[in-house]
């Protein structure tokens, strides 16, 4: 690729690939969740039957229906097949592709359509649409057009002001205005600067970045090159979790392809601008998602955060000015630079522009990945797009922001999703994990779960976080074991405030959020644990007791046989009895009883 014009020519040629006039285009979702659900054999079967018409693609978002296959016949609308198997695939080939009649019973139903209806895709625009392993498909989808524009004379200042005017804010958690970050990095004195991509998505229950990297890696590469052009850097690093092998492989493929076409590397598209990229693998440390820890890790050290200032924009990687954004933020960049600041700015709320990707998980029917305009209410995401809690259970709370975020109770379900509204109710936007909980989840237990996580993932450098998170966990453990007092609740709150104010980095400062938000919205559950020694959701084993209702027990002996502690006695055909002294509260009897004769309270 020696000139931007060559790219334009190649784009025209490539467009035929995306909508071939003379043959079907069959897409198989082959991101991690698709592969885990068995997309591999489906792909192989289709490939055998149809050859090059079969394209692998990234995650389209509806995880619960994986493996997913989309069939586009020339001139016809797309048909989406769900929960595919090799056998089903054969039938689709025979009846639909060869026979012309879609197999209605495998098609995605109304639920699936509702899932897509409320979405607006910017960061995920190409996920599930193009083949991430074929650079031509990205080029066909207007890929590298923004970069070509920049190298054809668009000034760095213009690029930065477009980013600034778009209102884009960091999608990794804190929501700092991206354009300002770019400006800082540009203004920082220094000949050598670095562009870094934070792809260390460690929030348990979040997979937005992984989906982008697996489904549309070039958009990140292009954005980083644009950032390099804008701030004056010729070297970038992508710090990606080693736990994402598929993402790493697709990034490597993408980088190699881009270098081959001179869209990365020395004198890109024949210009004087050079930009190279290196992938660095994380090694399993959540704290490396914190920007200074990430840089410390790339430098080859323990991933411990360092105090700010100096901020990375001034003194970052290897002591040089460094611009650091996360995957989703970068994925917005080529789109907004091509479409203009207003394209993004016109979506969202007054202070939160554009869209946000969420990974819906937990007790929700429509588990998956969604991208919605900022300002969409939680209710819309959970009830309309996600289809509510499965099994008719009552929605209790949604957790956003992972270990740094908080739980939002059902009473706040009409909160619009934007940076300010979420922090006002004690949670945060976070990177996009959205975990739904129903009436069967104990909120004290959830707080304990997150603290267990932070205790494990605290780097151990500063005393408040290293010791304080452990003490918080121990207090919660005491409470869930029925040994807590009301004074412990005060101590818990006091310690939470201390960590927020005094920890070195954001991990420690936000670690108390799961506790504080549950204390704020579900204090009655805490009180039930410490005062009444009851766990209202029947989750905390020490506070649960099992007993048999004599009138309902048929004496089938099943419970006595499954009890691992030998705590259940009784003659056949006679009502059985649980010896509460010996019961270890494993719940095996409760699960097995066919007559609902065992009660948990």
């Amino acid at each position: 690729m020696k000139t931007p014009a060559e790219l334009a020519a190649r784009r025209e040629a490539a467009k035929a690939k995306l909508s071939p006039p003379d043959r079907p285009r069959v897409l198989v979702g082959m991101a991690t969740c698709g592969l885990a659900a068995g997309a591999g054999p489906v792909y192989d079967t289709l490939k055998e039957e149809l050859g090059d018409a079969v394209i692998l693609t990234g995650c389209v978002g509806v995880c619960r229906f994986e493996p997913l296959v989309e069939v586009i016949m020339p001139g016809k609308p797309k048909v989406t097949y769900v929960s595919m198997t090799p056998e089903k695939a054969k039938r689709v080939v025979a009846e639909h592709i060869k026979g012309g009649a879609p197999v209605a019973e495998y098609e995605i139903g109304e639920d699936g359509e509702a899932f897509f209806a409320g979405q607006f895709r910017v960061a995920l625009r190409n996920c599930g649409v193009i083949n991430p392993e074929d650079i031509d498909e990205y080029i066909a989808a207007d890929g590298y057009e923004a970069l070509a524009g920049a190298l054809s004379g668009r000034s760095p200042a213009d690029i930065i002001s477009t980013v600034l005017n778009s209102g884009l804010r960091g999608r990794g958690g804190a929501g700092f205005p991206t354009g300002r970050k770019w400006q800082f990095a540009k203004d920082a004195p220094g000949d050598e600067k670095y562009i870094v991509c934070n792809a260390d998505e460690g929030d348990p229950g979040a997979f937005m970045d992984r989906s982008v990297l697996e489904g549309d890696p070039h958009s990140v590469l292009e954005a980083m090159a644009l950032a390099g052009y804008a701030v004056g850097s010729s070297q970038g690093y992508i710090y990606v979790r080693a736990e994402y092998p598929t993402a790493v492989a697709r990034l490597n493929t993408a980088i190699a392809q881009a270098k081959e076409l001179r869209l990365l590397g020395q004198s890109i598209m024949g210009s004087s601008f050079s930009f190279d990229l290196e992938i660095r693998l994380g090694a399993g440390a959540f704290v490396c998602g914190e920007e200074t820890a990430l840089l410390t890790s790339i430098e080859g050290n323990r991933g411990e955060p360092r105090p700010r200032p100096p901020f990375p924009a001034v003194k970052g990687l290897f002591g040089k000015p460094t611009l650091l954004n996360n995957v989703e933020t970068y994925a917005n960049i080529p789109w907004l630079l091509t479409k203009g600041a207003d394209a993004l700015n016109s979506v969202g709320t007054a202070t939160s522009k554009g869209t946000k990707v969420f990974a819906l998980g937990g007790k929700i029917t429509g588990t998956g990945l969604v991208e919605v305009p900022m300002g969409t209410t939680l209710r819309e995401v959970i009830e309309v797009i996600g289809g509510g809690c499965p099994g008719g259970k009552r929605f209790k709370a949604a957790q956003t922001g992972g270990p740094s975020g908080g739980c939002i109770p059902a009473s706040h379900i009409d909160t619009p999703i934007d940076y300010e509204s979420l922090s006002a109710i004690g949670s945060m936007m976070g990177s996009g994990g959205l975990i739904v909980m129903d009436e069967d989840n104990c909120m004290v237990d959830i707080a304990k779960y997150f603290l267990d996580f932070t205790v494990d993932e605290s780097c151990g450098k500063c005393s408040p976080c290293r010791i304080g998170t452990k003490r918080l966990y121990q207090l919660l453990e005491k409470i869930t074991h029925g040994r807590g007092t009301e004074r412990d609740l005060e101590l818990l709150e006091e310690l939470c405030g201390h960590l927020q104010q005094n920890s070195l980095c954001a991990l420690g400062q936000t670690a108390p959020n799961p506790v504080l938000s549950t204390l704020r919205h579900f204090r009655d559950e805490y009180v039930a644990h410490v005062r009444d020694k009851k766990c209202p959701a029947h989750v905390c084993k020490s506070l649960v007791s099992y007993s048999i209702i004599p009138s309902a027990c048929k004496g089938c002996t099943l419970c006595a046989r499954v009890c691992p502690a030998g705590a259940i006695t009784g003659a056949p055909k006679e009502p059985h009895v649980i010896n509460s002294q010996e019961c270890i509260k494993c719940g095996a009897c409760f699960d097995k009883c066919k007559f609902s004769a065992i009660v948990k309270e």
Partner: protein, 580 residues
């Protein structure tokens, strides 16, 4: 950039240069913000969070030790909220600290204990873990106990930053973080040089010297033993600190009285052995200079350095002087010359060295002793251990009268005295070498080029018409740089003095432990060294070769410098690198 930044601390206006930290600026208005992890210029990691302050507009409290001042900044250093924060952080640290203060070597000299007292902590309300001791005493010179460690990382910082040794460091993460050697090995198994610098920076009792005072008490109580003690040059300017005297007070006279009160049969000055070292090493140097090397000659007084050389730069071992250290020369003479002269069986002479150094505990076990089967020195005590003996004996140190060393080994020159500071050995050697080479002492006996606490000092002098390039360096990180430059040919020297500890023996790992807050803003080593140079300047005898004791030793026993007899007693014979 503006020359000064104006800010307000506790409403008081302050002007400081850009780049100053809030902690440094606060000192200017007379507020010392407490710290646990901060070591100025060595380890500035903002980890302990004791030094937090309130900066107007900041989202959270900030660590003043690493927070740079900014124009118009408004800082508050002791609001109720800040005091509460420090108190809670301390509570948290204490909840994970084995509090056996009364039975801890650092009782009453513990930075954590002082903070706990300052903040009036009377209970730790948070859950606490069962604290079992985690004693690790595999190394001869120190004892580690991670159950008292507060993870300030000062130890690993000095080990890496000052000494370029880096055998200990933070391992694991989160609550499990602890200071360890690689693969959890014991310190005795790794390439530790025994310098003890880590001990002198530890705020608590997690790192202490292995205490050997009991062995000395037993010897003193043993009627069969003739117990002699030799005191290294630097001890007289540091021991006073243990008794509340200002840094740099010279307490030679009281020290001698105290040792006598403790019951030593002979109280001697190792400065005299230092003079002897100059005679032997000076001779060795002239021989190498005129006889074709190998050069540079490198001093061998500092056992931490010798061990460093063996483990990290074995290619330089032929350059290291064959002379024993002054301590070992002293011990060797006690068990030969002295025993003979006073009709004592060598095995009944019990030699104690009072040393600024923990590596000396290792040095005395290296073998290569003057009398077969008998160590030259039986016990090497640190300054700290001696101070504990004096306290335990109820000796009223500060009101003791002054007295002089025993004459049998008590006359020494100022040249021997300045061995206690970096550059001192070099200066002492230059005084004697140039005097002997030129047939008369130089016009000035002050070789100021090699004085001072700079890590590396270089100079060149003309001796017998030949230009001689010398260097004196202290701190092993500096030694590493110098050796590297010799190795790659970017520097050439004829004579190098290397002292393991920064500042030389006045900064030794066995010296009194002063709080880091003091060390951050005052150069203890310079104050201690100044006291040595002042005494030297005041002394009539400032040349080793003019010492009557030295003349007598050669006349009666050693014949002449470098003689076979001198070699037998005063030089090492084992191949370096093969020692225990």
């Amino acid at each position: 950039m503006a020359d000064t930044v104006n800010l307000k601390i506790n409403s008081v206006p302050v002007s400081v240069p850009p780049g100053t930290t809030v902690l440094e600026a606060a000192r200017q208005i007379g507020v010392e913000i407490p710290t646990l992890c901060y070591m100025k210029d060595i380890s500035e990691i903002g980890a302990c969070r004791i030094c937090v302050v309130d900066v107007k507009g900041a989202r959270t409290h900030v660590a003043s030790c690493v927070y740079p001042v900014a124009e118009g900044m408004e800082v508050r250093t002791h609001t109720p909220d800040i005091i509460r924060s420090r108190t809670r952080t301390l509570e948290l640290i204490l909840s994970n600290h084995r509090m056996d203060c009364l039975t801890c070597l650092r009782n009453q000299n513990c930075e954590l204990q002082k903070l706990a007292a300052d903040f009036g902590i009377q209970e730790t309300r948070f859950p606490s873990d069962a604290h079992e001791p985690q004693i690790e005493d595999s190394a001869v010179h120190l004892v580690r106990d991670n159950s008292k460690c507060v993870l300030c990382r000062r130890c690993s910082a000095v080990c890496k930053h000052n000494q370029s040794v880096g055998v200990i460091g933070p391992a694991a993460r989160g609550f499990d973080t602890h200071i360890a050697c690689a693969y959890g090995r014991d310190l005795g198994e790794v390439a530790c040089v025994s310098c003890g610098q880590c001990i002198t920076v530890c705020p608590t009792g997690a790192l202490t010297e292995s205490c050997q005072t009991d062995e000395v008490w037993s010897a003193l109580a043993d009627p069969k033993k003739h117990v002699v003690v030799g005191v290294a040059p630097s001890i007289r300017v540091t021991l006073g600190e243990c008794f509340g005297l200002p840094v740099g007070a010279n307490v030679e006279g009281q020290m001698v009285s105290a040792l006598r009160l403790l019951g030593f049969n002979g109280v001697f000055d190792i400065d005299a052995a230092a003079d002897l070292t100059i005679m032997e090493e000076g001779t060795e140097f002239m021989k190498r200079l005129t006889g074709g090397g190998p050069l540079p000659l490198i001093t061998s007084c500092s056992p931490g350095w010798v061990r460093f050389c063996e483990q990290y730069f074995p290619e330089f071992l032929p350059n290291v002087s064959s002379c024993k250290s002054p301590q070992q020369m002293f011990g060797a003479l006690m068990k030969t010359y002295y025993a003979e002269k006073y009709n004592l069986a060598p095995e009944d002479v019990f030699v104690v060295g009072i040393m600024p150094c923990t590596a000396k505990k290792y040095e005395i076990r290296r073998g290569d002793w003057a009398v077969e089967g008998l160590p030259d020195v039986d016990v090497a005590l640190t300054t700290r251990e001696l101070s504990r003996m004096i306290s335990r004996a109820g000796i009223m140190f500060r009101s003791l009268p002054s007295s002089a060393f025993d004459a049998a080994f008590g006359v020494a020159s100022g040249a021997g005295l300045i061995f206690g500071a970096t550059g001192g050995v070099m200066e002492a050697a230059l005084r004697t070498v140039s005097s002997l080479a030129e047939g008369k002492p130089p016009a000035s006996l002050d070789f100021t080029e090699v004085r001072g606490t700079a890590g590396v000092k270089e100079a060149s002098y003309t001796i017998r018409g030949r230009s001689v390039r010398v260097a004196a360096c202290s701190g092993l990180a500096n030694a590493r740089k110098v050796l590297q430059s010799v190795k790659d040919g970017s520097a050439r020297y004829d004579f190098i003095e290397i002292m393991c500890c920064p500042g030389g023996c006045v900064g030794g790992g066995g010296q009194p432990v002063q709080p880091q807050s003091l060390k951050n803003f005052s150069d203890l080593r310079a104050l201690r060294a100044a006291a040595l140079y002042k005494s030297d300047a005041d002394m009539p005898l400032r040349l080793s070769h003019e010492s009557p004791l030295i003349k007598q030793l050669y006349r009666e026993f050693l014949q002449k410098p470098g003689s076979p007899e001198a070699h037998k007693i005063l030089h090492t014979h084992i191949e370096k690198g093969e020692a225990v």
